[in-house]
Symmetry: C2
Subunit: 416 residues, 2 copies
Amino acid sequence: MPTRITGVQVRDIRFPTSRELQGSDAMNADPDYSAAYVVLTTDSARGLEGHGLTFTIGRGNEVCVAAVNAIKPLVLGRSLEGWTANMGLFWREITGDSQLRWIGPEKGAIHMATAAVVNAVWDLYAKAEGKPLWKLLADMTPAQLVACIDFRYITDALTPDEARAILERNQSTKAAREAEMMRDGYPACREGLAAGWSHFKMKVGRDIADDVRRAGVIRAEIGPGRKLMMDANQCWDVGTAIENMKRLARFEPWWIEEPTSPDDVLGHAAIARALEPLGIGVATGEHCQNRVIFKQLLQARAINFCQIDSCRLGGVNEVLAVYLLARKFGVPVCPHAGGVGLCEYVQHLSIWDYIAVSASLEDRIIEYVDHLHEHFVDPVRMRNGRYMPPTAPGYSITMKAESLDEYEYPGGKAWR
Amino acid sequence: MPTRITGVQVRDIRFPTSRELQGSDAMNADPDYSAAYVVLTTDSARGLEGHGLTFTIGRGNEVCVAAVNAIKPLVLGRSLEGWTANMGLFWREITGDSQLRWIGPEKGAIHMATAAVVNAVWDLYAKAEGKPLWKLLADMTPAQLVACIDFRYITDALTPDEARAILERNQSTKAAREAEMMRDGYPACREGLAAGWSHFKMKVGRDIADDVRRAGVIRAEIGPGRKLMMDANQCWDVGTAIENMKRLARFEPWWIEEPTSPDDVLGHAAIARALEPLGIGVATGEHCQNRVIFKQLLQARAINFCQIDSCRLGGVNEVLAVYLLARKFGVPVCPHAGGVGLCEYVQHLSIWDYIAVSASLEDRIIEYVDHLHEHFVDPVRMRNGRYMPPTAPGYSITMKAESLDEYEYPGGKAWR
């Protein structure tokens, strides 16, 4: 019996985080961490549902909700098994509507909405298989994984055969890494200072003199051994980024994150070339719209760290493509997290990456921010600064019913 | 007395063009030419209104409508004179909302909505000055034009001083070119064959054997002297684009348009390098999201023709930036038109370009498609295959009230 999609609900969920200025930075002054939250209901006798969300920072969340509603007809009435038999085709169908494509293609609100829906389908798939998403992916054969990916526009950098070869390389040793993950977890970094953490991040970009002052304080505090990341949140033009990072180089930043526009492949490449002699890496990706931009960042040697976002890319299928591209170019993936739900999402991706793709933890971390996890049914579990692998079936993104009700915008109690 | 914005209305206008397959191609199978149509009402004693639209091809138009509504609070209650005193700041404010920015930045539905609003402001500005938009722009000093542009993220390719120098170069001879435009108009190209036209465009990308066959027929029909453009509408990967254009080279295409993903700067550069020895230029831009992408296409020498879209770029301010970037890199701008309203919009831009920026018509044309013009109050006027400069004040995008009522989706008569 196929599992058919009988309903697509989307809700506008917003947390009033700007009241406490959680997560503010030079570019994003007052975020209200928000989600266009999707539930796929089915006719499954087990009552299976697929949950997914796309993350925004407040205003504009309703635009993503409208975009999910635009995608709804592509999903309603379809069967999970029809999709999982050919996941590449599923992706092509959900991103290929000949009219919707115009308002992307594969970028902006429509692509973020695609992520919410695609991730909900993967959540449903993992629940149907009784596995956490990372395990579902880790158990797939190389051929099955490759079949999930739309190679359109990336074959000049990665062919299906190359992707398959990358996956086959570490196939026989997956079990050992899975056991290691279950035992030790995946390393995290966090903003601010705390015992047991080895990576710290500071915001820069508002004022270079103040950035220099604070970098000095922080480096003195964490000592020379720990890694310090800097995040400019797109504040700078290319030339300014280079000048300012030369001034900050003496505090030995491990990377500069989002030094300029996320659309600027050549700009990132120029910055990377200028900072390489100083030992500073370039990291970007949380605002990079799709696999075509990541392909170019990698081809141009513009990034040393690839920071995919699990719901700005159009969901799991496209994320798989970028992890494999990054692997081909020898660049570690350190996914963007924080916000609401991003930590829950990306732990699955990086754990799968370690087991099936990279087989390495070198230079790899997942961001960690300690808020809003209480709204999730199966929140992240941290131990000694590491993400412990989820064990419940699905993609860990299901939110508590009472949280959804309380934070629904504008009718929920938190907003009334 | 300042002119204050008292209302922002946005309507979902769709023309059922898919019923007759107007404008279909390999990627866009069944477009319903549509517009998120914006009216800014004011407290002006003259009853001034600003009209603007963003063009879509049907489904998803409602997402752009939602995005216009998200922008509305940034506009309502503001004064035209406050904006025109500092147009660069106006742009920064309307694209810089710290929360809305997340669902772009400056791309997709939110940026297309920005265009509708920004263009409505320019329409209002031109009406207030009693000039057609091209004349408003042509009468500005270089300093005034430069002040309209947000140079964020493009200073590594074009500084304000360089932009000013470009504009000053042809300042003293503007009057002669304006007179020439009024007399002769601006050259157009069109799809299909007709007397008096020198440029023709054919669609390719569905099937290369059929493309070769049709190219042979068309070249035989138009003879060796006229220019033949080919448009692949993003159908190909980089390698395929190069292979297929080598097969089509014997029909002497002037350019290949949209050979691959509009996000792929490096891909376009590879294609341009491969096709240069064959004498085939690369054209792209109708799907290029913002000035940062155009900057890179120009820096990488990836395009020989720059095809800006007047409402995918975020409106006049950003369009000015791209024309000046293109001028610096010596690349002619041939704007995307067709659809609904695009011909009405872009004639202003190219006429201004000729008068104030390029001072050249070489390798420059505006697309022309002969449909839906009857819905405009001040439609384009063609003479001998040339656009004749509009004379009515504004940006020529005001639609007839009865057309708006009839084609409003889903309630208008055309859709009931």
